[in-house]
Amino acid sequence: AQSVTQPDIHITVSEGASLELRCNYSYGATPYLFWYVQSPGQGLQLLLKYFSGDTLVQGIKGFEAEFKRSQSSFNLRKPSVHWSDAAEYFCAVSLPGSARQLTFGSGTQLTVLP
């Protein structure tokens, strides 16, 4: 069955520390890959996306993600976390040309300590 897994439910890091949020997918073909961020009580904002080409993609707010086909992973990274990065992060996939659209992981809640 097709699925998206975010193994870390909650991550806590100190401000200024580096961050990596994990995402693994299980699909028959390489899907399109996305990371979204959700602030409390708000909708989702796209951080970055991967369709094809360079496997290291840059997003907004200093985030980047690397697609690794051999590991079926699309991990999100940031070299230095800011307190404003505290939010919930969702990995999502969609199949090219599919109207069904995004399948989301269960999310990772990020807490940033001062």
Partner: protein, 115 residues
């Protein structure tokens, strides 16, 4: 530019009452439209999607229904709410003409509490 409106932002309804959440999109035509639900501490679950007027696909059996009476309007409804319908509901759209660029745009969500 394209925008998406979703209302109300918050809603408290008694069990057994009806529900109607509305989502409208501006600045685009013939979008794909989606309703997601986010239960507390859980990810987003796709409830319904629509590729055109009157065309609704349901992802999971449930107490809810959806309708698309106009090209840029998507409505989520229930005749009788259950406690388990509580959650955060998100509407989203995707430009159907650009399936290679399947970024979804989300509304601000509706927090529904059934009491």
């Amino acid at each position: 530019s394209q925008t998406i409106h979703q209302w109300p932002a918050t809603l408290v309804q008694p069990v057994g009452s009806p529900l109607s959440l509305e989502c409208t999109v501006e600045g685009t035509s013939n979008p794909n439209l989606y309703w997601y639900r986010q239960a507390a501490g859980r990810g987003l679950q796709l409830l319904f999607y629509s590729v055109g007027i009157g065309q609704i696909s349901s992802e999971v059996p449930q107490n809810l229904s959806a309708s698309r009476p106009q090209d840029r309007q998507f409505i989520l409804s229930s005749k009788k709410l259950l406690l388990s319908d509580s959650g955060f509901y998100l509407c989203a759209w995707v430009n159907q003409d650009r399936l290679m660029n399947t970024e979804a745009f989300f509304g601000q969500g509706t927090r529904l509490t059934v009491v």
